[in-house]
Amino acid sequence: MRITTTVNGQQRVVDDVWEGESLLYVLRERMGLPGSKNACEQGECGSCTVYLDGVTACACLVAGGQAEGREVVTVEALADADGLHPVQEAFLECGAVQCGFCTPGLLVQTHDLLARTGRPSDPEIREALAGNLCRCTGYEKILDAVRLASERMASR
């Protein structure tokens, strides 16, 4: 089947998509956008988190066809012409990135958290990120990064 969808602000048309393919597969293997990662394929780890019509979702659990006519935003679009988004900067500065495989999903989830909740408390951060597994960092540096990004965004 053909899917027409808006990805990172651009209209994309892909053909020959099998009905059972996930949005994650379509992004990674058909659109050349491998930023979203496949680490569990069952919605447990959050590595493939993207925005679908402004709501975060695990792209592995969304069928490619469900993106028809909708808007998808991936980690590749968080930075803009002015440079990195404060969330990306904070992750770098705080040492919240190690192997980097969980990072794209965590960035999108954090981006969403800070858009909805300006200055989240620690329990709110941990709750918001509870669906994003990281095996390297031990989360502490990720928490630091979210706090830092939140401070900087609030003071702008």
Binding site: L33, T74, V75, L78, A79, Q88, F91, G95, G100, C136
Partner: protein, 698 residues
């Protein structure tokens, strides 16, 4: 060894590839987009635990649109005999464990390959299997050595007599379950053939070793195999050597005449890539009334598969930790019909120190000596078994620093007496240790025509920050700013280098990078920069000459545990690790790595458990829904710090590895804290609430 002058080393530049990682631009192994039409392979796991593949009926799927090949034990290309028997994939019809790959489908899309693989009909001749490790298993035997080349058993002094005469004894059996590495990136391989030249993009902890293994397997000169591992999404030991996905990719790519991707599913990660063996460990301690050890015995029982012998070095840390008049350690191994266990972060030290450090806590309770003090009291002057001096050993400093920071002094030793609302509260301590290994490595350094310098080494950055710290080290050796240095890693063509394993990356690669930088600087000073200078170094001789000392890192871990009186739920609001790990090259990446290790230790203490179903011979909880790893909400206040440690013997940089020591001792610290909170001693991990409920104070 002469100490080097450092400027960049010790500073905290941000991760060099960090921007690529936070923008999604970093390309992991199978994410190459310049290769044209790739094909996808999906493996077929055995559905029996032991027996033979009688027949694979591939006719029905071979004709499906998009299916390019069906590989079976009957038609798969023959390989040379590998050193690692697990790599002989599809080379015979034997099934040695449930989940072993017995066929594979290659297709133009992943979904087609999966669909075909699922409908492939395989007939087996099944025989009874035996997958359950027990204390008295008839197959238990003494391996020739334990990993990598330690004696299986050691004995020093008369343990039995010392135990019989001891004023206080501890005799306890500890169990650790199978634990699965689960790096976030599954093993992923992309193989491309150009004539008789193989290029493999793979998620590996060492490109050079993989090149050698694949060259042997496919009967190629090593120069015809090129392995690239630019970005690796974690490994924790499971990517230490080439795995069978790479072999399948290379095999299939040659069969179908186009690049082939093999990305394992999470479920495959519980069987074919290795895991930490379960252990049953008996520890006996004898001491005088003051807690001075007179005897230590540590006997480990563990498993391997029938495919190959993997003997984990579970009790080796006991050989170096404490002074005692007598000591005995041993390992017994049963080859069962189970997936092959392999290295997982601090193999040996991690489960072994859970047992030893739990036993030390039990000894502290039995003698009434403070748990910090009892460790200090048994501090050895030299490495107990070898008699060698330590190149440096700061366990006591770590214990004291940790006690100070954690507020240990006011601790009431009585268990089960502190309440904060519905929570029982306790604290625990345990020691950590990990060897400071180093491996020979080669490196090159060149002045670039346009200015600046490039250093090349076949190192791997599996998330550690290797690329960043090597750039700092190179800059110091070249006496230039880090901005002037580009370090290239992740490519077998850069020559032999140590693995990103055994916590030896920075020590080994840093040594070679230092020598390359120094030599290039000397050449430039002598000849002037004409823009074409390049030097090559090999540290083999220097590394071999490192001798005369016992080289280990040490640390102390402190934990606070809170246990819900009614539900038995365990929370760990505070974890503190204090480490003596030599020179810290980059505090930012180091702290992150140490805390990451501690969190994996916390995860081991409370969550992680591969549950074997003896009837089927497999791990039933083989995904992230059933196999729990610590999430953000499981971790609270956690910190890692280090004591100042100058070690001029360990290597020219004075660094010790930090990748593994963080996980060693954490589980014991948590278990000891849980005991202090509740009075319940949990000797088999993980500390689930059902193990506490019966014993909680009313």
């Amino acid at each position: 060894m002469t100490a080097i002058t450092t400027r960049a080393v010790g500073s905290s530049p941000t991760r060099i590839e960090g921007t690529a990682k936070v923008t999604g631009a970093a390309r992991y192994s199978t994410e190459q987009d310049h290769l044209g039409d790739v094909a996808y392979l999906w493996p077929v796991p055995a559905t029996i635990a032991k027996g033979r593949v009688e027949a694979v009926d591939s006719d029905a799927v071979a004709g499906l649109p998009g299916v390019l090949a069906v590989l079976t034990p009957d038609n798969a290309p023959r390989l040379e005999t590998p050193d690692d028997a697990e790599l002989a994939v599809l080379q015979d019809h034997e099934v040695s464990y449930r989940g072993q790959f017995v066929a594979a489908v290659v297709a133009t899309s992943l979904e087609t390959a999966r669909e075909a693989a699922a409908s492939l009909h395989i007939t087996y001749a099944e025989v009874p299997h035996d997958s359950e490790l027990t204390e008295n298993h008839p197959k238990l035997s003494k391996p020739e050595k334990v990993n990598p080349a330690f004696p299986t058993d050691t004995e020093d002094g008369d343990v039995d007599a010392a135990l019989a005469a001891a004023a206080v004894t501890v005799d306890a059996t500890y169990r650790t379950p199978p634990v699965h590495n689960n790096p976030m990136e599954p093993h992923a391989s992309l193989a491309v053939w150009l004539g008789h030249e193989l290029t493999l993009y793979d998620s590996l902890q060492g490109a050079f070793a993989a090149q050698q293994a694949l060259a042997k397997l496919f009967a190629l000169p090593p120069a015809s195999v090129h392995v690239i591992n630019e970005h690796v999404g974690g490994g924790f030991g499971s990517k230490g050597t080439v795995r069978l996905g790479a072999v399948l990719a290379a095999m299939a790519a040659r069969e179908v005449g186009r690049p082939v991707k093999v990305v394992l599913g999470r479920q495959h990660m519980f069987t074919v890539v290795g895991y930490r063996t379960p252990t049953i460990q008996r520890v006996r301690l004898g001491a005088d009334a003051d807690g001075q050890l007179t005897a230590i015995e540590h006997a480990a029982i563990e498993q391997t598969s029938t495919v190959l012998e993997f003997a984990e070095q579970t009790t080796v840390a006991t050989r170096i930790m404490y002074a005692a008049g007598s000591r005995r350690t041993s390992h017994r191994l049963a080859a069962l019909d189970v997936p092959t266990p392999r290295w997982m972060r601090a193999p040996g030290e991690c489960p072994g120190m859970f047992a030893l450090e739990s036993a030390m806590d039990e000894l502290a309770v039995a003698t009434g000596v403070d748990p910090v003090e009892i460790r200090i009291r048994n501090e050895p002057d030299v490495e107990p078994e070898s008699g060698k001096p330590f190149s440096s050993r700061n366990l006591v400093a770590c214990l004291r620093e940790g006690a100070e920071r954690f507020g240990w002094a006011a601790r009431d030793p009585r268990p089960g007496v502190r309440r904060d609302g519905r929570w029982l509260v306790g604290t625990g301590v345990a020691a950590s240790t990990y060897p400071s290994y180093v491996g020979p490595s080669t490196a090159s350094a060149a002045a670039e025509p346009g200015g600046g310098f490039v250093v090349r080494i076949s190192a791997a950055d599996i998330g550690t920050g290797a690329r960043t710290v090597l750039t700092q080290i190179a800059a110091d050796a070249l006496r230039v700013r880090v901005e002037e240095v580009r370090v290239e890693i992740g490519d077998s063509s850069f020559g032999q280098a140590a693995l990103a394993g055994g916590s030896m990356g920075t020590a080994s690669w840093g040594w070679a990078v230092t020598r390359a930088g120094e030599r290039l600087r000397a050449a430039l000073d002598e000849h002037g920069g004409d823009g074409r200078l390049e030097v090559h170094v090999d540290t083999a001789e220097e590394v071999k000459a490192r001798t005369g000392f016992a080289y280990h890192a040490f640390g102390a871990q402190y934990a606070e545990a809170r246990v819900d009186l009614d539900t038995g739920e365990v929370r760990v609001p505070r974890l503190l690790g204090v480490f003596g790990v030599g020179r810290i090259v980059n505090p930012r990446t180091a702290r992150s790595q140490l805390i990451g290790g501690m969190t994996m230790g916390l995860s081991m203490a409370l969550h992680e458990e591969g549950v074997l179903d003896p009837a089927f011979g497999d791990y039933v909880n083989h995904d992230f829904a059933g196999y729990h790893v610590a999430a953000a909400a499981d971790v609270a206040d956690i910190d890692a710090v280090w004591v100042d440690e100058q070690d001029e013997h360990v290597n020219p940089l004075g660094v010790k590895g930090i990748g593994e020591i963080g996980i060693v001792g954490t589980a014991a610290a948590v278990a000891n804290a849980v005991f202090h909170a509740t009075g319940v001693r949990v000797r088999d991990l993980p500390i689930r609430l059902d193990k506490l409920l019966g014993g909680l104070p009313g």
